[in-house]
Amino acid sequence: MNELSRTFGCFGGSVSIRVSDEAGERAAAAALHRAELQLRMVHGRLTRFEATSELSRLNADPRRAVPASALLLELAAAVRWAGLVSDGLVDATCLGALERAGYGDSRADAEGLDPESFRAAAGSLEPRPASPDAAAHWRSVGVDREHGMVARPPGVMIDGGGLAKGLAADLLGRRLAAAHETFALDAAGDLLLGGSAPRARTVVVRDPFGGRPLRELRLARGALATSGITHRSWLRDDSTLGHHLIDPGRGEPAWTGLLQVTALAPTALEAEVRAKAALLSGPEGAAHHLPDGGVLVHASGEAEEVAGPLTERAVAAAA
């Protein structure tokens, strides 16, 4: 059965969806159309770069408890979950620090620093693991599903970021998995594979500076997410390194000695959280956050594989 594909811009990057359906190509084409609409809807509601999005309205709302759609409730729940499973490292309430670091507006079209400029900016920094914010504002985000309310202290703002992307992929993946033979979703670099009769696919891990692919994996179903600090990097006003992964404890862009982490997990949301937590932990603590395996890229550019249930099988299949 041939797969049909559709590619479009969303989540600040390129999204690609492939679907095959035993009912034929028309059914697959209709599924792709619905999938694009669904992802665009999720992005439109959960982006912080549009003042009228539901997330931006929540962030600006002076009330402690705010009526919320089912989608925003899911994001709020994901904020708490991410904080819990990452020991407070993946803190989606660090929006103020993120904006102070220079990420107030979308950088979807901005080029990251070239390798030389990046290494020069990072060379003056002492690598150290990130730490959780003692205030742990993510713990204050409450979800009341019965009444459809999200609660948080006014002024605590949420950054949808990768959580929204992972959530959107999982919501779509649940539908595609139930209705189609195969599907493969590439949500701006985060992958979700599956279906009722999934195909084994080769997935390459891209180099953080655009060099040759670093690793090759084989997967039939599951998720991979990659988080890193080179692609969206810039020099701040004081010429220090700026990027979008904040060390919650210091409120500054983290420099842990890792450039990029790819995480495998059963779901896209979990892969997204695991990848960020591993990168923020640094080389020594990264494996703790990769229970299903992954790939680390050190400051030297060297790639290191972290074994896990998914990678072991993936590597064995590729051999």
Binding site: E3, W81, M149, R206, P213, L219, H231, P266, A317
Partner: protein, 90 residues
């Protein structure tokens, strides 16, 4: 005597307030049971973990730990090779 006077005063004050409230009600007043305020949202927000994220195709768990077996497609029919994909920073 004082207690009775006080009770009467409070009762009349309450009736006056209620009458004022009815006049200033922005919506038509329905039966008594409909005028009761709706219960406020529960003050106890969910503080539990997000829970196990949705897993895909749980009906076909892999051979160990419930993870899918990625070594081969689980379909009985052979599958064509799929296009290569890549993961990286966005």
């Amino acid at each position: 005597m004082v207690a009775a006077f006080t009770a009467a005063l409070l009762a009349s004050a309450w009736l006056a307030v209620a009458a004022w409230g009815n006049r200033h009600s922005p919506t038509p007043v329905g039966p008594a049971k409909d005028r009761r305020p709706k219960p406020a949202p529960s003050p106890s927000y969910d503080t539990q973990p997000y829970g196990q994220p949705p897993a895909y195709d749980q009906s076909q768990p892999g051979p160990s730990q419930g993870y899918p077996d990625n070594s081969a497609p689980q379909s009985s029919a052979p599958q064509e090779s799929a296009p290569q994909m890549s993961t990286g920073q966005s």
